[in-house]
Symmetry: C2
Subunit: 222 residues, 2 copies
C-alpha cells in the first residue's frame, strides 16, 4: 500500500492528498511530527518536511512538486497539470502563486504562527505576522475571484492542480476560521464547488485534537 | 526573438538563462527593476517577479518552474529534468531544496538583504538576517558535497536542472564574495565543473554597475 507522511493542516500535504484522491489512488496516511526530526524520517527526506510518499514498490518521493509531477506523469488516466505545454505553464504559474507568494504573505503568517508554533514548540505566535496575514489574505481571494470570473477553473477550462493548490491553502486557513468569505462571492462560489468534490471529503473530515474546526468548515453550504 | 526579463543577480532568472543556453536557444535579456512595478510588466506577470519569458510567437510565460518545465517539454533535444519519472522526481526534489529551503535560509538573508534592499529601496540590511545567512550557507555546501561524493552530478549520472538551480544560487552569492569555498572541496570541485560549461559564460561575465564582483568570481581556477 502507498503511504503518505503528512501533517493534518499542511497545505503541501493536503495538495498531494487531493491529487491522489482525484486520481483514485489508494493510500494510507501517517502523521509525521516533523519538528521531532525522527532519524527514520530524515532518512526519507533530509529536508525534514511533509509530504513524503512511499509508492507500493518502495520508491520514496519527497517534496510537493516532485510528488505531484510524478503522479501526473505516471497515472495518466486523469491529467491534472494540463494537456499541452502552454496550459501546463499556466497551471504551474498559479501553483507558484499560491505555494510561494500566498504561502509567504498569508499561510506562514497565519497557519505557521498559530498552529506550527503551537504544536512545533517554536514559541508564542507573532502578532505582527498574524496582522500581516489577515491584511494580505483578501488580495488572494480577490485574485481567485478575478480568475474564476474569466475562466471556469483557475487555470482555464479544466479543473487542475492550480485549483487544488489554492484550495489546499484556503482549506487549512478556513479550518482556523481565518478566511473572510463574505464579500468575496466569486472565490466563495469557486470554493463551494471544490468542497463538493468527492476528492475533498477527507479534507473536510479532518480533525486536529484539541483544535476543532469552526462549524462552517465542513459545510458544503457555508 | 525570445525575450527574458531578468535581474542580474536573481537566482531564478540565472536558472532560466543557463537552461536556455544549455539548450542553445537564443534570447535577448531585458533588465526589469521589479520594484518599480511597471504596469506593462505587471500585465505580463501580476506577481511582479522575474523571470518572465516571451517566446518568439508572443507566448508569455511567468514563473521559474513554469518556464523551465515548459522549455524541457518543448525543446527536447537535450533534456535537463531527467528521462524517467523517478529521476525527474529527484531533480525536482533538489530544485525545491535550493529554490525553497536554501533560498529561505541563505539567499534571502544574504542576497535579499544586501542587494535587493539596496536597489529595491526597502531600507537598511538587517544584520541579524545576514548573520543567519552566513551561518546556514555551510550546511548547503556540505549537502552539495555529500551528493557529488556519491554521484557524478547532484541528481545522479546526468547534469540537470538540479545542478543549474544550486549553481544559480551559489553564483549570485559568490558575486557578493559570500561563499566560503575553502573547506568545502567537493562542492568547490563541482562548482569548478559548472563554471567551465559554455552555458555559464554569460553568468560569469555579469556586472552590476557600482557593485563589481570579487576577482575570483569569473576565475575558472578559483
Amino acid at each position: 500500500m502507498r503511504v503518505l507522511y503528512h501533517l493534518t493542516l499542511s497545505p503541501a500535504a493536503r495538495k498531494v492528498r487531493v491529487v491522489l484522491a482525484e486520481k483514485n489512488l489508494e493510500f494510507t496516511l501517517k502523521l509525521e511530527k516533523t519538528w521531532e526530526r525522527r532519524p527514520e524520517f530524515l532518512a526519507l527526506n533530509p529536508a525534514a518536511e511533509v509530504p513524503v510518499m512511499i509508492e507500493p514498490d518502495g520508491t520514496v518521493l519527497a517534496g510537493t512538486d516532485a510528488i505531484v509531477e510524478y503522479l501526473d506523469e505516471v497515472y495518466r488516466e486523469k491529467l491534472l497539470i494540463g494537456i499541452n505545454p502552454i496550459d501546463r505553464a499556466e497551471v504551474r504559474r498559479l501553483c507558484a502563486w499560491f505555494d510561494v507568494k500566498m504561502n509567504l504573505e498569508v499561510t506562514e503568517n497565519l497557519l505557521g504562527q498559530k498552529m506550527m508554533r503551537r504544536y512545533g514548540g517554536q514559541g508564542q505566535p507573532n502578532s505582527q505576522a498574524i496582522r500581516a496575514g489577515h491584511a494580505n489574505l483578501p488580495n488572494h481571494l480577490d485574485y481567485v475571484g478575478y480568475l474564476v470570473e474569466r475562466r471556469r477553473w483557475l487555470a482555464g477550462d479544466h479543473f487542475s492542480v492550480a485549483d487544488i493548490t489554492a484550495a489546499a491553502h484556503l482549506s487549512a486557513l478556513d479550518y482556523l476560521g481565518d478566511v473572510p468569505w463574505e464579500g468575496h462571492d466569486p472565490a466563495k462560489e469557486w470554493y463551494a464547488r471544490i468542497k463538493s468534490r468527492p476528492s475533498f471529503r477527507a479534507i473536510l473530515a479532518d480533525h486536529v485534537p484539541g483544535a476543532p474546526p469552526p462549524a462552517h468548515y465542513a459545510d458544503l453550504d457555508f
